[in-house]
Every structure is written in structure tokens, then in C-alpha cells.
Assembly symmetry: C2
Homo-oligomer: 655 residues x 2
């Protein structure tokens, strides 16, 4: 729709008008008509299109040969299609007649200068700023959508004291421009313009908190918009010009922070009191969300901690990472301060714009020994960092409690980047919950809609204690693995029936644990009841996951596992928790369960192998007993994986 | 969709199951099958429906005559349709066979008790709580929508010290129940149930801030849910029962406060560790918004202040109110403390649920002399009150700057309750703006989507200084009146041309002002330029209103008016501002402009009459010169009108 502009004119006065291409001038010609006027004629230069709209909204092309009756409400509607070569080079003359049809009473002359003004962005998301995209003023999701994208400048290109590149008022280093989105103000028109007109670029106060804008001249880079600078005024003296702006996002979408940012441009006409805007347009950007990467995406780099007592574990773990041909980065004790839970401290993800993509680590509010690790070892050139803090954090804020499913389609609704999964107290009533700051942040990213599971039944309370996803060549491209006391009991009962009741768990020389017989486990009434309860809790989640991820029973694999209720009436692993594995493509690093040995084989490991190997997966059991399991975590809790981004672009999602 | 429940069973154990009508039990029968099982039979009581789902998700009805091959993944799917008469009165027997087809190896017996549990609300919005509405768990806007409605208990039935009825933990007086929404928990089933089952009603912490729930027993009313009570557990001992709850909203929708509230119900089964939920459902309420009433709605009661110097005004004003047959309430000086701007202190509206509707006054953060008026004179039985405060308030937070349009349809989109109109600084850059607290509140009400106009060019800064709406029998049912310097200049020029240039404004004995000639006005270059600027500002708003309300030129009437730029480079009325009128049905109370008298008639008044009287409107000019105009306000600023609610129900709006 063209922009309408009401224009007032006067008889006998010079009426100089700057006309912006694409607008429509509505001019009341009844009010300014001289006394006694009864009809009028309109004459235009060839570059001007005029039409008459009367009280009944009947619009007809104005015609030199024709005279029109003047009525209260008669409007002259003026448009132009070509840029003026010179100031006032187009003209509209309105001639008024009274009784005498051959003698004009008076006339009004409109001197028009047509200019082109366009604030341009990459609204078609191809990495280039096109000219005057008709959709630049709005955001639309989906493959047929439009709207420009803004990256949060969450990385740190330069070795300055600033925390992030966006932390100060300058562009720290030339490379940083590549992280920003470009915006161009293009003008075309005659060489000389009317004096004292201005161009004003401005944002709302709430948007001002989200962005910082730099203007790039040949010789310098100047901050022109930001938190305390909501407006930037430029002289409009040259008809042809190009102003280059670079924009960085200051904050990821969050509860009180919408993801859209609008930039307004006005052409200001000098008035007795300051300036009056005579043309306004706006462009819209969407802040790129933080995106999580499920286990089905290719691993790029694996992280693990070296602590006082995990040398043996590290050796076995390294072997699996090498087998998967991944880069391994070991975080040493000077940085981890004997905190081995690198899964809990951070979650790797990324942020993407058509012009640039880089990994962004989400740093949990947990902040124990590993607190400084993401700042010291991750944040850097093209490696972003975002965090949320809270005074009311609990164990549920550790990111072992933050996972993401592979892509799914549920009742026809597509989740092309999967769904974020967190654990919470529901359907229990408990004070323990993921803190609002983290939850709100996750919800606000929008592209991986959350599923909230019930994890409060666990002492540690993390979803990675009872579920994981592994890639699969068939069906939906993955399987959901769930820890299953039921499967374990059934397996042990079968072994008992087969005469292996005296076989013992924890018999290995490699661990320091009291062996326990299958018969003892099966006759332990407390353990049986504990696990019936745990199974009920896992089943609750199973039903939620089936519904929310659109899974069939065949998409789920039960991994034998036992829990015990000890701490604060909550559950912990009875033996190393096999679902708490690391997934590196087809290579799995699984906590070694140290089950009973039957003919030299562990039936727990065999059960896992026989369930997963047909999917092309390579099961590697790692001894994490002393160094992780006894500290209430396992392989997954003690490692982390940076993965490749999705090929799918988030803005192509239908929301 | 039926609720799926994964159920685990064991051979040789009693398997007593409480089945809730409407759920589907999924039972893995492969895992619990005894060693050597190869096939199975299923036998059910007549009340039980069983089917078999195998790995390939092929579901067939279980048939007594048929034996099934047992496969890994074979599920037994169980549903029931009738409530049990006695505990365990339904049975499913699964018989396992090995090699010998005539000799069962073992069997599992499931003892089923079917119960009905339903948390019920008025989801069809007819004022009555129906039984188990299938849509009770969600909210849908529109005439074909559904979802229960909750009123904010913003009134004050009882003469207690509490600020509002909702302010304490009790139901102050029986009548207060009528303001609340009812919720009923209905259960049906056998007289005796398994011991120790519980029913739990609970809400999330964020919803807990929005509501308070009372349980009504025959003899008492007990608070069971609220800000610090997120859960209420009841014994589930009787099969047939009805629990009555009454719910009051604690807060209107606002930026950080979504309008939906969910109540969850769980059936809890006793476990070794507390309880496990085996059935959950939820119902959803929407908090009723605060709704504004445009000038086209019938007036019910008119409010005005009596102050030291407005006796003459009051007399003329009263006459108009009597003519319109409205109740008039005069706020006296002991309450208004010489503050006459009752339009600025409050805005009347209402809140509506299917079971109850009452007026609610929105109290501005302005809080000058009239600060206590809404508490002392308005808040009471079935008269609600809501306010927002801010430390950063400005003149734009006075409610002369808060208006609402009549219902409109814009490009096919219906606004059946009109659109809220506020004034702001855009397209100017200025620190002065409506405070976030008020703006957020208005946006959050949703049903009258906002239009933000440019009012910062005015010294006082209110939209009612340049616009109003009057009812009309034709077109869209109303006209938009806009203050027009252009119309006034044209009128004066015409008078000058007709030889009345020496006629004077302000010549009346009833006012104490220096007369000024039409010739003087027209030759005052500063005044001319001031008004050219003002016209530009009004035109900006005209173009916005045409677009946002879908108006044609013919829907707009220009009311002659002049402004002067004096205070802080901003505009004020040069003579009493006629658009700042009070609209009482067809009766208008208009500031008397004290224009020049030509043949005993004021051409300004005549222009207004001739524009409005053809619409059936009755123009009454009131002298507000000394008592309002010279204090920078007029009739509208000094009065307020309580109007009838819309016949249209807000939940029928398509959003």
C-alpha cells in the first residue's frame, strides 16, 4: 500500500513540495479555493499523475480538457514516478473558475521535486542488502518469509579489556564488522535540494536496548544509535547519496525482550518550530536466536576435564574420541578447579544470520569450579558466549538438565531443529525448579519449542540421567533411549531363571565396590519398590515424550538400569547409568555398568549392544566408576560436545 | 485425543489398577512374560476393551478365540467405558503359552476399577459449569471459541479495611462469591476405593500470583490455592463426590502477566516414596481484560468537579447533562482538593465474564488533587478499580491522552470494540512519553489494539486536544472530529473577504479577555506559521488514523481551531478548543469559542452546527473560558462519563 500524505496548499503562495517516490499526496482543493469558485481545471507536467476524488470517493484521472465542479471534500490525488533532475522541475496548476467559464478567478501552482529515499536491509536473507525490498518493514517466518536478521555480537574478536565486542561504543577491530548486519540509506534526486531538510534515523527506547548502530564513512566508524542514542540526524543536502550502517545485536531474545527491532527513517521539513516529518518508513530485523544441537548432528570438538582422580577414565575416554576422529580439548585443573562436570556448566549451541554463523556457548548460572572456563577458553573470535544468572538457582539449572531432541514432526507440525527438553518438578509440587531466568531465555528462542519433563524425582535432578538420543538409519532418524528398571529386573529375573542368580555385580578389580549377587538384588524388597516408583516416574516422561515428540513405542529403546532412593527421598543410580553416554556420530561412549559376568560377558552390556549395534552404532564402555559414578554423575555429565550447526536455516521455520 | 498411560505389570503379583475413564492403558506384555512364552491369549470382562498392538503398530481387537504370537514390543491396549460398581470388578487375564499349545505356562491377572474424574469449568461461556467439556483445557478466541473466563476481583463488596475484596485470604461477604468463577471437581465410582489415593489440585508459581481459590464446603469457605499455596491435596476415599471451588483473579493481564491461568488435577497413587501421579488433566481460564467505552456507547453517569471558580460553568454543564437525561455526580472540593481535571485522573471501563459484569475505573498514575477520589467515591460493591503507578510519569500519562475509537473494520480485520488511542512523541524524539507501566497494561488487554498518535507537539500533550468521536446515523456509525487550523484560517479569510475583518473575537462580557480582530489574526505572521506547523502535526495524525481505523475523508470532520506555540515550543489552544467536548448520546457539550459576532451569530459555532446538526447532533456551547480554558483545558478535560458496556462479548473477538 502506498503511503498517504495529507498536503495543505494555499492560493497565491509558493507551494514548493518535496515528493518522495512511492507516496500519494492527498490535497483538499475546496478549502483553499478563492471565494466564488465553482469549477476548476488541473494541469500537470508530464511527470505528474493527477486524479480527482470527490465526496463519493469516485476517482477519475484528471484531464486537461475537462473542467470539474468544485465540491466540499474534493481531493486532488498526486503521484509521480520519476526522480526529478532539478529542483521544482515538475508542476501542477489548479485553475479556479466562477460564473464566467472563460475567466479564471485564481490559480494555485504546486512546484514538485521528486526524490527517492530508501532505507535498505537484507530482507530476502541472501546475505546482500538489496534495493527497496517491498517486505523490508515486516518479519515473516518460513521458506516464503522475509525480514532481515541481526546477530548478537556475543563473541570477542579483539584482545581488549571489554567483555564482548559489543561491550563498548566502538568497533574494536575491522573483522568485527563481519558479525554485524548492514543497513544502507540510499537517496536519489537532483544535485541541489531545498535548504535545511534533514534525514533522521531513530529507534524506540525499548529497541535501543537491543542494538548498537555504527555509521561507516570512508575514513571513520561512528556510533550513531544505541541505548542512550535513540536518534541520529543527518543533513539532506545531496540528492544522490549512500549512508552505510552496521548493526550489532546487544542481547538475545528473552522474556521481556522481543526478538524484533525496528529502525525508523524520517524526512524532516524545516518548520517554524523545529522540523515536521513529511515521510517515514521503517525496516525490521529479527535477533537471531541461540540454537541447540542434538546428538544427531556431527561432532566437531569434545571437551572433558582433567582432575585429580580421573587419569584412567581420561585414557579410555580419549580412545573413544580418537576413534570418532574428533578434536579433544582437555580443560585442566588450573581452569576447572577440580570441577569435572563440564556438561553442567555449559551448553554448546550457535547463532546464525545469512551473512555469518558462529558457535555460542550458553553458560549456566551454576558457576562452580568451572565458572571461568567459558570466558578463558571458549569466548573469542567467532565464538560467542551468553549467560543467565540467578540468586535462586538449584541443581535443575545445571545443563545436564538441558537437552534437545533431533528434528521431529508431531501431528503434522514440524520441528525442523527439534525441541528443547528440560526437567522440572511437575507433576510433583516442589520448590526445586529451573530458575526463571534460564527458562524464560530458552522459551524466548522460539525455534526449538520446549518440553518440560519430570526430573525432580532424581536427587541430582537432570534429564540426562534417564534419557538420551542416538542416531539411527531408519524410522525418524533416531532412537530415544530411556533408563528402564523394568528392563533390568526382567533381565536379572531371566538370568536367575537360567541359573545365574549367584553371579555378582561389581566384581571387577578395576573398581572398589562391594560385589552384590543377582539373587540379592531381586530379593531386596526396598530396591524392588524403589525401582517400581522410578519406573513410574520414567513412564510418566515416556508418555509425555511420545506425545510431544510424536514417537511410537518402536522409536524408544529401554536401557536396563536400576536406581536406589536414598538422598532426600530421591533417586540415584544403583550402577553406572548407561543412558548417560556421549554420542559422537555412530560412536558411543557408555558408562561401563560392571554387571555380573556370565561366561565372561556382561549381560547388561550385551543387552545394550544387541539393541544398538543393529542401528550401526559402536558401543564403547568406559570405566567411570570411581571418578564419576561415585560422585553422582557419569560420562555425559563429565563431557561436552561442540557440534555442527543444522543445514536448515532457522528463519525458514513455520512458527 | 485420549490420554495414554504406560502401565507395568508382573506375573504372579496382584495387579490392581485404578482406571480413569477416557484414558488408554499401554501394557508391554513381552517383558513380563515368563521364560519360554511364545504366544498368549487375552480374556476380558465385558466392561473392558482390549486390543493388541505389535511392532508394526497394527492394532486389532483382542479376541478370546484367538491366540497371538508374543513378540518383543507387543502391547496390550486397554480401555473401559463404564464406571465400576465395586472395587476390582473388572478383569483382564493374559495367559502365556510355550511349546505346548494346550498347557499355559503362567498368567497375569489385571484387576481393574474404572472411575470418572473430571475438573469442570464453564468452558462454553454460558454462565454454567457443564460436565467434562472436551475443550476445557484450552482457550480459543471467537464466536466458535471456548475457554472459561475469570474476573479480577477488583471491587469491594464489604466495608472492611482491605483495599479490595481480593486483598485478603478470606471471602469477605457472601455476595463476593458472585464475582468469582466456579470450578467443580466431580468424581464417580464405587463406594469403597483402594486406600491412600489422593486428589491433588495445583497451579504453577507464575499462575499462583494471578489467582486465589476457595473451596466451598457446606459449612465453610477455605482458601486452598494462591500465591504461597500452589497445591491442595484431598483424600480420595469416596467414589462419588463433588468439590466446589470459587476462583478470583488477582491481577489484570499485563506485560509480564499472561492472561491464561491453568489449574492441574492429579490422581495420586501411594508409592514407597510419597505418591506417583497416574492421571493428570488441566483446565484453562482467561483473565477478563479491562475494556474502554467509546463515545458512541450510551452514557450512564456524568462526573464533574466543583472547584472554587467554576460555578457558572457547572450551571451550564448541568443543563446539558439534564437535557441528555444522565445522572450527574459532582465531586466536591473536600475530595478533589481543587483539582478539576477529572478526565485526566481516571478512565471508566468495565470487565466482563459470562456470570458477571461490572464497571472498573482505571486510575492514572497522575495522582494530583483527585488522587483519593476513585477510592472514596467509585470503588465499592460491583465497582472495580485498577491502577498503575510509575516514578517516571509525565503529562502524557493523564487520561485525556487515553481515548478509544468506536468499532471499526480495517481491510477486513474487525475491531468490534474499537481501538485504544494514546498520544506519544513519535515521530518526534522526545523524553516525554506515556509511562511503560500504563502502556504495557493497555497493550496487554488485547481486545482494543492500540494506536499510538503524535501528541508531543502540544504543551499539555493529550490526544483529546485535537480529536474526538461523535455518533452518526450513517456510514461507519460515527465521525472523527479533528481540530483544524486550516479550516479556521479559511473561515476567517472568507469573513475578511466578506468585509468582516474588523469583527473581534473575545468580545463577550462573560469573559475577561482582550478582544482581537479577524484582520489582526490573519496578519499575524507568527500565528500563521504556528498554525501551519500545527496543521502539519494534526495531518500526520489524520493520515495515521485514516490508515489504522480504515477511514475515508468523508468520515472526518474538520473543526475550526487555532493554536499558538508558546510554552516550551509546544502548542496550546488560542481560543476554547471545540473538539474537547463531552458526548452524551446525541447531546454535545462544546467549549464556547467566543468567536467574532457577525449579525449576532458566531461563525465558529455556526460552522460546527452546520457540520454536526445534519447528523442529528445537538450542539450546546458551554462557557469554560475562565474556569477551564485559561487553565489549559476545556469541557472534556474537566468531565468524565461512565458508559454502558458493549453488547458484544470480548471473548467472541477473533484475535
Amino acid at each position: 500500500m502506498s503511503k498517504q500524505r495529507t498536503l495543505r496548499i494555499e492560493c497565491g503562495k509558493p507551494n514548493q513540495v518535496i515528493y518522495v517516490l512511492g507516496t500519494v499526496l492527498n490535497i483538499d482543493i475546496y478549502k483553499p479555493a478563492p471565494l466564488g469558485s465553482q469549477s476548476f481545471e488541473v494541469r500537470c507536467s508530464p511527470g505528474v499523475k493527477c486524479s480527482i476524488s470527490d465526496l463519493h470517493n469516485i476517482t477519475v484521472a484528471a484531464d486537461d480538457a475537462k473542467r470539474w465542479t468544485l465540491n466540499n471534500g474534493t481531493l486532488l490525488v498526486v503521484t509521480m514516478e520519476k526522480i526529478s533532475n532539478d529542483l521544482n522541475d515538475n508542476k501542477v496548476t489548479i485553475i479556479f473558475y466562477g460564473d464566467k467559464l472563460d475567466k479564471p478567478i485564481d490559480k494555485i501552482i504546486l512546484q514538485l521535486t521528486a526524490v527517492y529515499i530508501s532505507l535498505d536491509v537484507d530482507a530476502d536473507r541472501d546475505g546482500k542488502v538489496e534495493k527497496n525490498n517491498p517486505n523490508k518493514g515486516s518479519w515473516k517466518w518460513g521458506p516464503n518469509g522475509h525480514g532481515a536478521v541481526l546477530l548478537v555480537n556475543s563473541d570477542k574478536e579483539a584482545h581488549t579489556t571489554a567483555k564482548y565486542d559489543r561491550s563498548d561504543d566502538t568497533v574494536p577491530i575491522f573483522e568485527d564488522l563481519a558479525d554485524m548486519s548492514q543497513m544502507i540509506l540510499r537517496t536519489e534526486g537532483p544535485k541541489f535540494l531545498l535548504p535545511d531538510y534533514k534525514l533522521q534515523l531513530y529507534i524506540s527506547a525499548s529497541d535501543g536496548k537491543k542494538v548498537q548502530v555504527f555509521r561507516h564513512d570512508l575514513t571513520k566508524m561512528t556510533k550513531v544509535l544505541g541505548t542512550t542514542m535513540l536518534s541520529s540526524v543527518m543533513d539532506y543536502t545531496k540528492g544522490n547519496n549512500e549512508y552505510n550502517f552496521f548493526i550489532e545485536g546487544l542481547t538475545f531474545p528473552d522474556e521481556a525482550i522481543g526478538s524484533l527491532v525496528a529502525f525508523n527513517l524520517s524526512l524532516l521539513e524545516p518548520m517554524i518550530v523545529g522540523y515536521a516529518p513529511i515521510f517515514t518508513e521503517h525496516v525490521v530485523f529479527c535477533l537471531a536466536p541461540w540454537i541447540m544441537t542434538p546428538n544427531t548432528l556431527a561432532p566437531q570438538e569434545v571437551f572433558v576435564c582433567s582432575v585429580r582422580d580421573n587419569a584412567t577414565f581420561l585414557k579410555e575416554f580419549t580412545a573413544v574420541v580418537e576413534k570418532a576422529k574428533c578434536k579433544l580439548t582437555v580443560c585442566n585443573e588450573d581452569v576447572n578447579r577440580n570441577d569435572r562436570w563440564i556438561q553442567d556448566e555449559i551448553e554448546f549451541g550457535y547463532s546464525e544470520a545469512p551473512h555469518k554463523t558462529f558457535p555460542v556457548v550458553f553458560d549456566s548460572p551454576r558457576n562452580l569450579g568451572l565458572e571461568m572456563f567459558p570466558y578463558k577458553k571458549l569466548l573469542g573470535p567467532d565464538f560467542g558466549h551468553v549467560t543467565r544468572t540467578s540468586d535462586q538457582r538449584s541443581g535443575l539449572d545445571s545443563f545436564g538438565n538441558l537437552e534437545v531432541s533431533p528434528p521431529v514432526t508431531v501431528n503434522g507440525k514440524e520441528y525442523p531443529m527439534g525441541r528443547i527438553i528440560i526437567g522440572n518438578a511437575f507433576p510433583n509440587i516442589s520448590d526445586r525448579k529451573m530458575t526463571k531466568a534460564v527458562r524464560d531465555f530458552l522459551y524466548a528462542q522460539t525455534v526449538q519449542p520446549l518440553i518440560e519433563l519430570f526430573s525432580d524425582w532424581l536427587f541430582v535432578g537432570h534429564v540426562d540421567e534417564f534419557l538420551t538420543f542416538v542416531p539411527a538409519p531408519d524410522r525418524k532418524g533416531f532412537r530415544l533411549l530411556l533408563a528402564s528398571p523394568d528392563a533390568c529386573c526382567k533381565l536379572f529375573m531371566k538370568l536367575q531363571q537360567e541359573g545365574h542368580g549367584e553371579a555378582q555385580m561389581f566384581e571387577s578389580e578395576n573398581i572398589n565396590a562391594k560385589p552384590v549377587k543377582i539373587n540379592e538384588i531381586l530379593s531386596n524388597e526396598k530396591l524392588r519398590k524403589d525401582n517400581a516408583y522410578v519406573q513410574r516416574c520414567v513412564d510418566w516422561n515416556r508418555d509425555v515424550l511420545k506425545k510431544e515428540l510424536g514417537l511410537d513405542e518402536e522409536d524408544i529403546i529401554d536401557i536396563p538400569m536400576l536406581f536406589k532412593i536414598e538422598y532426600l527421598q530421591r533417586a540415584g543410580a544403583f550402577f553406572p547409568d548407561m543412558v548417560n553416554m556421549i554420542v559422537l556420530g555412530k560412536y558411543l561412549g557408555i558408562p561401563k555398568p560392571f554387571g555380573p559376568l556370565i561366561n565372561g560377558e556382561c549381560p547388561l552390556e550385551s543387552a545394550v549392544r544387541s539393541a544398538l549395534e543393529p542401528l550401526g552404532l559402536d558401543c564403547n564402555f568406559i570405566n567411570d566408576f570411581a571418578s564419576y559414578h561415585l560422585h553422582l554423575g557419569e560420562v555425559h555429565c563429565g563431557s561436552n560436545v561442540l557440534r555442527k550447526p543444522f543445514a536448515f536455516k532457522w528463519w525458514n521455520m513455520e512458527i
